[in-house]
Symmetry: C2
Subunit: 375 residues, 2 copies
C-alpha cells in the first residue's frame, strides 16, 4: 500500500470499512464454528467484494453462498468453485446455471416445491439441488414433516441430484433475547436434521445439511448433524445485531462518512450529505427497544456520539438530531464536520456503494476495495 | 434498433421502463410549464441515465439539476453545460466544483447559511451560488424573512456570485389533496419571490428564482416571478404520486420484472425473486390511505393486478399476497410466472439497478439504457 490518505481527503458520502473490527468479527465466527466442528460456507451477499470474501473463507477458493448469479460469477472467476445459490431458482436462470456448471463451477441450487423441482429435473443435467426447509414460518421452504418433502425429492431425482437440505432462520431477527436466539438455533438445526433423516430413510444420500443466519450461527451451542453454516452479516455487524444482543456498537465495521452541510437552528437539526442514497432506506431497528432512525452517529474516528441519531433522510440529505429532541450544541459540529453513520442493516447500506475505503482503527485510508452489484 | 427480445428472455429481477408512459409524462410537464411560461431545469436524480436526460430537456445540452457531482460529471460530458448542484455544498467538494468549472461547466451550487457561504467565498473563485430558501419547514434553507438571508448573501458576495434563490417544497409529499398541493405551490413560489425581492432591494441582481417538486410543479397555477422549475420524479411517476392524486397507476413508467419462484400455500404467499435489493427498502406509501407495501403488482404486460401487493421483502425474496389477506389462487401464478412491480418511490427503486430495459406498451425490449450511480 502506497501513500495514505486521510478520510478528510475524501468527497462525502463514502463507505468506510474498519478492517480491525472486521477481522475481529471474522475471528469470532471462525473460532465458534471450529468449536462446534462445522464448516463455514460464508454468504457473500453482505460484502459483495472479493478481497473481503477471501478473508471470510478458510482457504483459497473456499466454498461460498451467494444470493445472485452475479455473485456466483464473480466468486467463481476469483477461484471459488463450490458455490451455493441460496435463493429458489427462477426458471429463467436455468440456462445461466447450466452455463456456469459447464465452465467448471460446482454451483448448487435451491428449490422449495414440486413445480420448481419439475423445471430443474426436466433439463436432465444432474444439477445438485438442496431442498429449502421452512424452520421458522418466516418465508420459504417445505416444512420438515410435510409430505411435499419426499414428493419434491422424488420429482427432482428424475433428472437432478438431491444434494441435501438447507434452511435460513430469518425469524431469528425477531428474537428479543439470547435465550430466544438459542432456542431458534435449536429449531433451525432440528428442522434440517429431521428433513435430512427423512430423505435418507427414503434412499437419498443427502450429504449436505446447511443452516445459517448470523444470530443463530453465533449463539448455536450444538450443531450435531449440520454440515455447514452460512452467515453473512457477521462480517460487518450492524445496529440490528446490536439490538439483538449479538454484538456491541464497537463491533460495527462499516459506516458512512458524511459532512455537515448546514445548521437548522430553529429545528435543532444538523443537515448532512448522507441521505438515504448513502444510508439506504432500511429502518431495521424501528421495532426494537432502541430505534436508531436511519443510523447511529459517530465522530470521524468511529467513536459513538451517543446523544445523536439520523432521524430523517431525503435522497442526498440526512437530518441529524439529538435522540432526546433537545437543543443541539451547533458549535460542536461546524459546517464541514465529518461524521460516520452506523447502519441499521449492513447488507442494505453497503449495497448503496461501489467501494470500501479501508481504515484500521484510525482515519487513514489504507486501501480501496471495489464492490459489485446487480444480478 | 436491431432484434427485439421479449421480457420473458431476461433473467429476473430486471428494471423495465415503458417509453410510451414516460413520453406521456414528459409531454404533460412540458405543456404545463409552457402554459405557465417558465423554463424547466429537470432534475436527473430520478433517472440518472443520459438517454432519458436528453428527452427531459427541451433542447440538446439543455439545463439540468443534479443531486451529486457524479451526475454533474456525466451530464457535462454529454453536453449539458448549465448544471445546478441542488444539495448544500460540503467543503470537501469545493475542489471538484472548481475543477468542473475550470473545464467549462457552468456549475451553480447551493448554500443555506453563513458558514457554508464563508467557505465558498474564501476561494474567491466567483462561483455562482443560489441561496436555499426554506418554504415548508421540511428540511434545509433560510426562511425568506430571516435576517440570515442578507447576511449570507453579503458573506457570499465577498468572493462568490449571488445568482439567486432556490427552494424545494418537500412537504408537498405530505399533502393529502389537490387543494393542499396547490396551496403548497403558492407557498413555495411566494417564499422564493419574497426572498429574491429582498435580495434585489439590497442590491443583488439575483436573476435566478428556482422552485421544484413534482406535485407543486404540476399543480401550480401561477408561477409569476419564478424563472425555472426543477422536478424529477414526474419522468417515471410512482405510487407516492398516485397516493397524492398527481397521476394514475397507468402513468407509472418503471416497474421491476420478477419471477414467481415458490408457493407458500399455508401462508397464502407467492415467493418471487424481487426482494428489497430490486425494489428498494422504500415504504413511501406506508402513511397513505392505500399502503402499497413494497409495491403494487402488475402482469408481465404492465396491467395492474389490483388484488395483489408485495407485502414483505428480504434481500432477494419478495412475498406477494392478496391485499385482503384472502386465499390466493395459486393456479393463476405457476412457478416461473413473470410479474411487474410498481415502485413506491421511483428514485429509490431505479437506484437499485444499473440499466433500463425499454419497452413501448408491450413486452418487447426495444433497447437497454445504462444508468449510473455513486457520488
Amino acid at each position: 500500500m502506497a501513500t495514505l490518505r486521510s478520510l478528510a481527503a475524501l468527497e462525502t458520502p463514502a463507505l468506510v470499512l474498519d478492517d480491525t473490527r472486521m477481522e475481529r468479527n471474522l475471528a469470532r465466527m471462525r473460532t465458534h464454528l471450529q468449536r462446534l466442528s462445522v464448516r463455514a460456507r460464508p454468504h457473500v451477499k453482505t460484502c459483495k467484494s472479493l478481497p473481503i470474501v477471501a478473508r471470510m473463507v478458510d482457504g483459497a477458493g473456499g466454498p461460498v453462498t451467494v444470493s445472485t448469479l452475479q455473485e456466483a460469477e464473480r466468486c467463481f472467476a476469483a477461484g471459488h468453485r463450490e458455490v451455493l445459490y441460496a435463493v429458489g431458482l427462477a426458471p429463467n436462470k436455468l440456462d445461466h446455471v447450466l452455463d456456469l456448471r459447464a465452465r467448471g463451477c460446482d454451483l448448487n441450487v435451491v428449490v422449495d416445491g414440486i413445480d420448481g423441482a419439475a423445471a430443474i429435473a426436466a433439463r436432465r443435467a444432474d444439477i445438485p439441488v438442496l431442498l429449502e426447509i421452512d424452520s421458522d414460518d418466516h418465508r420459504a421452504g417445505i416444512r420438515p414433516q410435510d409430505d411435499a418433502l419426499l414428493a419434491t425429492a422424488r420429482r427432482l431425482a428424475d433428472g437432478a441430484v438431491v444434494r441435501g437440505v438447507m434452511t435460513h432462520a430469518g425469524a431469528s431477527y425477531d428474537c428479543r433475547s439470547r435465550a430466544e436466539i438459542v432456542a431458534m438455533a435449536h429449531r433451525e438445526r432440528d428442522a434440517v436434521v429431521t428433513a435430512a433423516a427423512r430423505l435418507r430413510t427414503a434412499g437419498f444420500a443427502a450429504p449436505v445439511v446447511s443452516v445459517g443466519s448470523t444470530p443463530t450461527a453465533l449463539f448455536a451451542d450444538d450443531l450435531t448433524g449440520v454440515t455447514e453454516v452460512r452467515a453473512g452479516v457477521y462480517v460487518f455487524m450492524d445496529l440490528v445485531m446490536v439490538g439483538l444482543g449479538v454484538c456491541a456498537f464497537e463491533d460495527l465495521a462499516i459506516s458512512v462518512l458524511c459532512s455537515v452541510i448546514g445548521h437548522q437552528r430553529d429545528k435543532n437539526w444538523l443537515i448532512t450529505d448522507g441521505g438515504w442514497m448513502a444510508l439506504s432506506r432500511d429502518r431495521g431497528t424501528s421495532a426494537f427497544a432502541v430505534d436508531h432512525g436511519y443510523g447511529a452517529v459517530c465522530d470521524v474516528r468511529g467513536g459513538l456520539v451517543p446523544d445523536l441519531v439520523v432521524h430523517g433522510t431525503n435522497q442526498e440529505h440526512g437530518l441529524v438530531a439529538r435522540r432526546d429532541g433537545g437543543a443541539l450544541d451547533f458549535a460542536r459540529f461546524p459546517v464541514g464536520t465529518l461524521l460516520r453513520v452506523l447502519p441499521n442493516h449492513a447488507c442494505a447500506t453497503a449495497a448503496q456503494h461501489d467501494r470500501y475505503h479501508v481504515v484500521r482503527g484510525g482515519n487513514e485510508v489504507l486501501a480501496t476495495w471495489p464492490r459489485f452489484s446487480g444480478w
